[in-house]
Amino acid sequence: MALWTIIKREVRRLASRPIYLLSMVIVPIACALFFVSLLDEGLPTKVPTAVVDKDNSALSRQMIRDLDATQLLAINSRYNSYHDALEAVRRGEIYGFFVVPDDFEKNAIAGNSPTITYYCNMAYFIPGTLTFKGFKTIAVSTTGSMATMQLVSAGMDSESVGALIQPLAIQDHPMGNPWSNYSIYLCNSFAPGVLALMIMLVTVFSICEEMKRGTSIEWIKLSQDSIIVALLGKMLPHTAIFSMVGIFIQSLFFGYNHYPLNCSIWVMICAMMMFVVACQAFALIVCCVLPNLRLALSVVSLFGVLSFSITGFSFPLEDMYGAVAIFSHIVPVRYYFLIYIDQALNGIALYYSRWYFVALAIFPLIATTMLWRLKKACKNPVYVP
């Protein structure tokens, strides 16, 4: 049985070199653990910020106490001037500051509309955004309570004024991720991304290495001159190992860490296995086009690293330039990510994700049409350094 011979041969190869253990098992799992552990807070709250209080009145002190009491911010220091606070931003010590102007309380009570200003360092997106949110909340609520106070003191009854603090309240309902937890979202996109990168690298490496070492002739001969048998035998052990690693990562996320899983786990397991095969097929296509170890590995790495950006994990696809966005359709990890969103995060009917499964299945089909090129290269292996 030729297939069995090749499988046994491949397992022996995998066991003989530590680089395979490293890049097939250790790296993907270690990266998943790294993401989980690094982001386990969910939101980087208590952003280091500062205040510049030029008023030093009861009202300004109250506002600063309110600022410090919010979950989002930590008032780490006080500065005497805008300039000093800006210097601290430039040194990277704080991510924003809140300025209360001179005679603030006096002007506020006299109805002279003093202006609070706040500064957020958006060069760091997440802390900058959280700083903005925290400052804005306090500025708005102070405005509301001051207005109420004025109206009440002008003689309006406090009941009708009460609703004035916020006449319209828009209630947030973030579906699937009510904590707007970054960890859920980053882990579920970046860990599969690393897995995809390692699958593609290992697949290319194990195939083209045969050509580098000149063992590809023997490999094809053992599989009775059938490239299908040769590749099936070679790839199946990889598929099994990577699927197990992938499922382990899923169990880490959905089981141990309780990330939202609003579908049957079998849907995600099935998606994971199809994703593993799709990544292998993608690497195979690269090998067929460029049957050269170094070039194929370079292409797969450059592409694999870019794919973290181009799949639209963070910046939505529909806002990218059309000519750039189309490349996201050739990235297997995008389809896994979309299945995860539909199924695990949003828990909608499988029907809506049908095309993503089809897309994952198309990768191996395309690869099979190009295998003749790889066979030719295997029979006349040339090593180009």
């Binding site: 690094l38 709250t45 760091y124 319209l168 707007s180 970046f190 870019l306």
Partner: protein, 389 residues
């Protein structure tokens, strides 16, 4: 005395010969040239092109309007008129709205309750639930900031109306007693490319350099394996001279590329670029040195020319996260922050972003700058120790 002078001269000659040989090896290796030259040239452009639209705009949403009143229509018009949101239609009920969302026709649902107009007219608080699809946090953020603005605009309007209705007692009172104004530093437009690219540039410098150096190391080991343990292209020289000679060669190649990446790329795409050239160019010298020495240390893990890719590429993601660009360093646990401390790019990103985006000077970046010099020293010593093993 003469012996010492002779030794010094021969040391410098061997350093020069190592440098010359390394230059030859690099320029005659297409694989290394891909990482050393093509990658720094094209990756910044590719990355910027992906993120260059900068803002998420006109995110589609739909409305379930149970109020069907002039007030509710006004609210919807306000939302639709923002730059951030775009109305795709009115759904008859939540089921239809959910179906639209499942089909990815919209990413938010505004549910206006039947008592909305009554509440607004009678000065009670009106509550409008908004349902967000949470797949991408950028969309959520875009919706949220637009909705907060609407909430405040409606609030101000209602307050004025109440005062007008209340009559003489409070007439003429300005209830917007406190104004507030937000200013954004660093990335003033809050664009995504403007935020991420300056940091990515530093990571590209470090990672492309390490990749190329690791590949050179692997290739040398391949040659040694074929030649009974001796690399025929290696130059006989003391360890320190070898390490310095090689690193000088890499730095020479990277000097024009660094200028291109740190100066011209931000100019080309209109990214934040407010630092002084002298500051960031001086700042980047220890980053280049530390990255090069770190690359030479990483050569230990590379046994073969091609395995360099398997060993190095995935670290880019880890280093990106450790650098604090996406996830701030103050929120990291102790061991991860320590690990980040020994990566040159961590300090490189911190210092360069502050200089480039916030207009800091070298003296503001004192901590990252000294840390980079420390890392340069540590990796230099390690590289010398590990040489010739």
């Amino acid at each position: 005395m003469r012996k010492v002078v002779k030794y010094i001269i021969s040391w410098f000659i061997s350093l020069f010969r190592v440098w010359r040989r390394e230059f030859y090896l690099v320029t005659h290796d297409a694989g290394v040239m891909l990482f050393f030259v093509a990658l720094p040239l094209f990756y910044p452009v590719a990355y910027t092109l992906i993120y260059n639209p900068e803002l998420v705009e006109e995110v589609p949403f739909c409305v379930v309007d149970d109020s069907r009143s002039p007030q509710s229509r006004e609210l919807v018009r306000m939302a639709d008129a923002t730059q951030s949101m775009q109305l795709i239609g009115y759904a008859s009920d939540m089921n239809e709205a959910r179906r639209w969302m499942n089909e990815k026709a919209c990413y938010g649902i505004m549910l206006i309750p039947s008592d909305y107009s009554v509440k607004i007219e009678t000065h009670q608080q009106a509550v409008v639930p908004f349902y967000y699809e949470m797949s991408l946090l950028m969309r959520y953020r875009t919706f949220m900031s637009a909705l907060t603005d609407i909430q405040m605009a409606v609030g101000a309007e209602e307050r004025q109306r109440l005062i007008a209705e209340a009559g003489d007692a409070v007439a003429g009172l300005d209830v917007s007693a406190i104004d507030s104004q937000a200013f954004f530093l660093g990335d003033v437009t809050q664009g995504f490319a403007s935020f991420v690219i300056p940091g990515i540039l530093i990571l590209i410098i470090q990672q492309s350099m390490i990749l190329g150096i690791a590949m050179l190391g692997g290739t040398s080991r391949d040659r040694r394996r074929l030649n009974g343990g001796v690399d025929p292209l290696a130059i006989e020289a003391p360890a320190v001279a070898t390490v310095i000679g090689k690193v000088l060669c890499y730095i020479l190649i990277y000097t024009p590329l660094t200028l291109y990446m740190l100066h011209y790329v931000p100019l080309m795409f209109g990214l934040p670029h407010s630092g002084c050239a002298i500051d960031y160019l001086l700042f980047i010298v220890p980053l280049l040195l530390a990255s090069a020495f770190m690359g030479m240390v990483m050569q230990v893990f590379v046994s073969e020319r091609e395995t360099s890719l398997l060993v190095v590429v995935f670290t880019s993601l880890i280093f990106l996260f450790l650098s604090g660009l996406t996830w701030p360093r103050y929120a990291m646990d102790f061991p991860w922050r320590e690990l980040g401390d020994i990566i040159p790019a961590t300090w490189g990103v911190e210092g360069f972003v502050n200089i480039n985006s916030n207009g800091a000077t070298l003296s503001h970046a004192q901590i990252p700058y000294t840390m980079l010099w420390r890392l340069t020293t540590i990796y230099f010593l390690l590289a010398c120790l590990l040489w010739k093993k």
